[in-house]
Symmetry: C2
Subunit: 143 residues, 2 copies
DNA sequence: CTGATTGCAAAAATTTTGCAAGCCT
DNA sequence: AGGCTTGCAAAATTTTTGCAATCAG
């Protein structure tokens, strides 16, 4: 999350306020997979008076501006990640473990998709689901 | 969603009940991007007495068995898709339009990731975010 | 039969909203 | 100064839970 994010907010006509800075800082630092409640708690550590509602409103704003993005990875609710660039996760369907990896072949597809669908592509999310080493051979059963 | 899904449920020791069949059928037919409320409504069209709670419980069960998967694509809540195979979406950050596409280079990565991280990979989700043709040049502003 | 599963309604958790006060520009 | 933003608390939504009745195997 470059500091340029602030300029982006300003450029879009939004005011730079302590709550917004706090939320931005939380996502910049902690980065990944935080849900609204966690973001609230950490934002309050920075600026104690921040309220729940403001976190939701800020998250919605940042999502609209394509600065963050909500995703679901088996958690019980939404989790936010930076929207910029790509995200590549390996998610264990059994224990929920998430591993990030770097190499990604998605960029190769951008030009083709742009041409074919007329989308201007800004970022992407690539997730693989399966079983991690620990969970292989240990399926879940009822009872 | 092959009919084999039912065998999978049975094999895992779960009972095959009308509510479960209804939810499975909804996801099999309608397939994509339905939220719990929509799934409930359509399941009730098949088996009128199905209750809200059962849909949630069934969705959780199917998620655990890796038959369906919740995702977030800018909607206000979770949406369910089949977990099998791959899903490839182009999502407009502005209007929320979702376009599915077929070609995907993700399969190429499976072997490498398996070797590197020890995951047995079953499926994947690849989403590109950007602006669709209609939304380009029409950014959102406050006020 | 037996215990998993269901539907209902209440409870809990999560989000959204209304509004006066406060802050950024 | 002007009006976007905020925090609070209440309202609305969405999910989860408790339990007796029911159903699949």
């Amino acid at each position: 999350m470059p500091d340029a994010t602030i300029d982006r907010l300003r450029a879009a006509g939004y005011k730079i306020t302590p709550p917004r800075l706090a939320v931005l800082q939380v996502i910049k630092q902690e980065g990944e997979h935080l849900n609204p409640a966690e973001i609230l708690a950490r934002a309050q550590a920075i600026h104690p008076s921040v309220g729940r509602a403001t976190v939701y409103r800020t998250l919605e704003l940042l999502t609209q501006l394509n600065i963050v993005r909500p995703i679901y990875v088996g958690e019980s609710g939404p989790t936010y990640i930076r929207a910029e660039g790509g995200h590549h996760h390996l998610v264990c369907s059994d224990c929920g473990k998430i591993v990030d990896f770097d190499q990604c072949v998605a960029e190769q597809m951008v030009d083709e998709l742009t041409e074919r669908f007329g989308f201007v592509i800004k970022s992407h999310l690539l997730e693989f689901y399966g079983l991690c080493g620990d969970c292989q051979g240990a399926p879940n059963h009822p009872g």
